[in-house]
Amino acid sequence: MIVADRKSIHEILDMVKDCSNILVVGCKGCVTVCNVGGLKEVQILAATLKIARKKEGRPLHVDETLLERQCDPEYIAMIQDRVNDYDAVISMACGVGPQFLSEAYPDQRFYPAVNTTFFGGAVAHGIWEERCAGCGTCIIHHFDGLCPIARCSKSLMNGPCGGSDHGKCEIAKNVDCIWDKIVRKKMELGRLNDLLQVFPAKNWQTARDGGLRRSRREELIQHG
């Protein structure tokens, strides 16, 4: 899922420094799964902001709510009756949330409480790791389910680069060298020859490099 990390309390306080009445909106989607923007985290953020502002002697009124998702207009619509009652609204959803909210409610100010980072999954309780770079042309089947685009620091298609140290990437001791894993897996499977071909250069047009991307399901689109 989409993983994010909460912004520092200072950054968030700064965003709402001229507000006296705000709403914090959480999301039951990805940010709940990675424990950064669900119900609990909304409550914690609200309490923390209130405590900090009370201490400053400038109390802040904070309301809390949770949407099923912030990436579907039907759910965004659910706060239409109250959204303009506040000086500002903080969204704890991924980068999509505050944007959808801003589009739906152009008269209100929406602030992102989290920094959206990557597509990943839980590798241990409380730890999420990047697995996918959204390149738009998935090739992991060539590498036995290991993605060199997302997991190689240099996105090499013909690695390894030779800078790894005991299976760890040259950039950090706690980052695995995915090419080390790929080669070893191929060796185990007796398929090292798979790696002898020169994999051709990637077409980055389907990735972010090609510009804004769109996904269409013709069978679902309502016309007329």
Binding site: Q43, I51, K54
Partner: protein, 149 residues
């Protein structure tokens, strides 16, 4: 004439150890300050970050969580979860300029009546020295969660 500051502390005590120790302290007629308002929980693992923050929000000068000895938690590792949550709140308080020492975690067994009293005395002293909560609302108006044993 201004009255000397009397801190209000909220203590989340687990039923199996800390609260039992509090009971024992009571039977042993040990004195400890009435500043400490005890709240019984089935396990300190039940205490979440929001409970700790709310205590401060509502005006507590100090907060502590008292659970079983590490390794002896009645529910295996509830006290370890609580320890991490207390640490999280300490970090949060520090980030917003409030003394992280206002919150702490203690471990004791149900037989440790005197230790319970000692913790209550020490924590009350610590908070008295730190002074009233920096929040504008008066610490005297903090609602008690439960009566003393």
């Amino acid at each position: 004439m201004t009255e000397p500051f009397e801190p209000t502390l909220i203590a989340f005590c687990c039923k199996y150890c800390a609260y039992a120790a509090a009971d024992l302290a009571g039977s042993m007629r040990l004195n400890y300050p009435s500043n400490v308002k005890i709240t019984q929980v089935p396990c300190t693992g039940r205490v979440d970050i929001i409970h700790l923050l709310k205590a401060f929000e509502d005006g507590a000068d100090g907060v502590y969580v008292a659970g079983c000895m590490e390794g002896d938690c009645h529910f295996v590792s509830g006290n370890l979860k609580a320890k991490k949550r207390v640490a999280y709140v300490q970090k949060t308080l520090e980030e917003i300029g409030i003394e992280p020492d206002r919150i702490d975690m203690f471990n004791l067994s149900s037989a440790m009546g005197p230790r319970f009293a000692e913790i209550a005395i020490q924590m009350t002293e610590r908070i008295r020295k730190l002074g009233p909560t920096p929040l504008a609302s008066s610490s005297q108006t903090c609602p008690t969660q439960e009566g003393m044993p």
